[in-house]
């Protein structure tokens, strides 16, 4: 039998598949489609210190093999998430990862600290790469010093392992990865969305109310694979890979590139069963390409 298990800081995953932050809400809707206990883990939608409404609509646009989104971190705030959403998710036999965001280091720290009170949460994903909010978010994600600082501050207050989610909108992704590793990150999560825009020909204006949005989906997979491949050679912490994962072959490609687990975002919108199906298909794909376990694959495609 193919062994799908993988062990990461704070996470004993039964398989390497998890929904990506923001693409699965807090799991309620998708729990109607299949049993979430099947998932390796679940990454929740971003939590901020207080409730946020987010950007105006339209918030999404379709692009070739992808989409743009500018949700703007809408969420009920960390307290409410701990009170109402985490308990629901803890009904399932899967690891809960909390994605945390903020406009200031203080906010990140406060959110991280709050999750210490939620024993059901197994790890934090530090979202320093959201391109869709005016303050914070991506600024932290493009400056290695700021990225290191927010990582270190969050590590100081948090009892949980911290996976830092990197932005692809940088000249040197390896530099960013090394900076947060040095600052104490337990793992990396990459990639977040590429900044993009679509202009509506009729209105002659950017289609999204926020003007720019984050590009996700299959279109960005080659960028994700390249960055994971490069970063995995220069850090010793594990990587949760994401960016366009749609098929079991994609999962294998991410693992070969050096990811230790894989998150699925946009593909959930096309196929709500996608994570469940990937988990079912993974053993035979591993087998087809001559692997007997997930851990066997990780980084095998990396050429130095």
């Amino acid at each position: 039998m193919t062994d799908l298990r993988i062990e990461l800081p704070g996470l004993q995953l039964k398989n390497p598949i998890m929904p990506a932050s923001g693409c699965f809400g807090f799991g309620r809707e998708y729990s109607n489609f299949y049993d979430l206990s099947k998932l390796g883990a679940i990454i929740m939608k971003a939590a901020t210190g207080t409730k946020r409404y987010g950007n105006n609509t339209p918030r999404v646009a379709e692009t070739s093999s992808g989409m743009l989104n500018a949700i703007g971190l809408q969420n009920p705030g960390v307290e409410k998430i701990i009170a109402s959403e985490v308990p629901f998710l803890s009904n399932f036999d899967t690891s809960i990862i909390a994605n945390i965001a903020g406009s200031s280091i203080e906010e990140y720290v406060a959110v991280a600290a709050a999750f210490n009170e939620a024993p059901q949460v197994a790890a934090l994903e530090l979202n320093i790469s959201c391109p869709n909010v005016k303050e914070g978010g991506i600024q932290f994600g493009t400056d290695p010093l700021m990225a290191a600082e927010v990582t270190a501050m969050v590590k100081r207050v948090s009892d949980l392992p911290v996976y830092v989610k990197l932005s692809p909108n940088v000249s040197n992704i390896v530099e960013m990865a090394k900076a947060v590793e040095k600052a104490g990150a337990d793992g990396l999560s990459m990639i977040n969305t590429l900044t993009g825009m679509q202009i509506n020909l009729k209105s002659r204006k950017p289609l999204l109310a926020n003007k720019t949005g984050g590009l996700s989906g299959q279109a960005i997979k080659p960028v994700a694979i390249r960055m994971i491949h490069d970063v995995s050679q220069h850090v010793s912490i594990p990587i949760i890979g994401m960016g366009g994962v749609t098929s079991a072959e994609d999962v294998l490609e991410f693992l070969l590139a050096g990811a230790s687990a894989v998150a699925v975002g946009t593909a959930n919108f096309q196929n709500p069963f996608v994570c469940s199906e990937l988990i079912d298909e993974l053993p035979s794909i591993l087998d087809k390409y001559g692997f007997s376990s997930v851990s066997d694959v990780i980084g095998k495609g990396v050429i130095v």
């Binding site: 918030r59 999404v60 096309q270």
Partner: protein, 250 residues
């Protein structure tokens, strides 16, 4: 509950200018869908599904009808699907129209591609013994569809923007032609909904909204609309697409 189903296209008809009617076969959705709900349809080559209102169901034939206007590349592609092909569909999505027992005469106001959900609703209301009056707005004579179908339900006023058929003007111009209704239901482009809800401010009414969608099931927060208490929000895909006219802020 929303399911992901394969639906056979059993009939495809062009029913007006750039307007296509698809009859789809599926037992589950035909038995469970309520007026106001929609299907979320995967179109080959497109990353996001397309939401389309259910225009009618036939429980015996186990079919669902949708009507759509060829708008951009996704609906263009969908218009090229042929009889016998299958569609990958999520449905039925959203909450349908709420129907108040005590309302007897009901005004339906549909504009353009907002007309289809009004038909499913109208049929349903008539089956429940209610009286239905319909005002349907279209761009021009060539765009008019389902006139006979609505006539069969009750008095029907057709309005065209250019006056090439029926009354000239907007659906709001035709409101003076009707009186004595207990409640209205409307679906159409945002400017129309704004005009209708403003003009019928004193009446009880329900509106069906459109917004660009990601997931279509309530997970991605793409399709929110602020509630009128300036405090909360609703998800159009999950809490809607139908809302009470006073509930949300257009």
């Amino acid at each position: 509950m929303i399911k992901k189903v394969e639906m056979l296209i059993s009939q495809r008809r062009i029913i007006a200018l750039d307007t296509v009617e698809l009859t789809l076969k599926n037992k589950y959705i035909s038995q469970t869908a309520r007026p106001g709900q929609f299907l979320h349809i995967l179109v080959e080559g497109h990353s996001l599904r397309r939401p389309l209102s259910i225009a009618s169901i036939n429980k015996v034939a186990e079919t669902i009808t949708v009507l759509f206007k060829i708008n951009g590349p996704g609906t263009k592609k969908l218009s090229e699907y042929k009889n016998g092909m299958y569609l990958d569909v999520l449905g039925p999505n959203g909450n349908g129209f709420q129907i108040e027992e005590h309302d007897n005469t009901i005004l339906l106001i549909g504009g353009g591609i907002g007309v289809p959900p009004m038909y499913f609703l109208g049929k349903h209301l008539v089956e429940q013994g209610k009286k239905v009056i319909s005002i349907l707005g279209f761009q021009s004579a060539g765009h008019v569809f389902y006139e006979d179908e609505f006539e069969a339900l009750g008095r029907t006023i057709i309005v065209t923007n250019d006056g090439s058929y029926g009354e000239k003007g907007f659906v709001t111009d035709a409101l003076r032609l009707v009186e004595d209704f207990d409640c209205y239901y409307t679906c159409g482009p945002l400017p129309m909904l704004k005009a209708v809800t403003a003009k019928l401010n004193d009446c009880s009414g329900y509106i069906s909204l459109e917004e660009r969608m990601g997931c279509g099931v309530g997970a991605c927060f793409a399709c929110v609309i602020p509630t009128n208490d300036h405090f909360g929000y609703k998800k159009i895909c999950k809490d809607g697409p139908v809302f009470h006219s006073k509930e949300v802020s257009l």
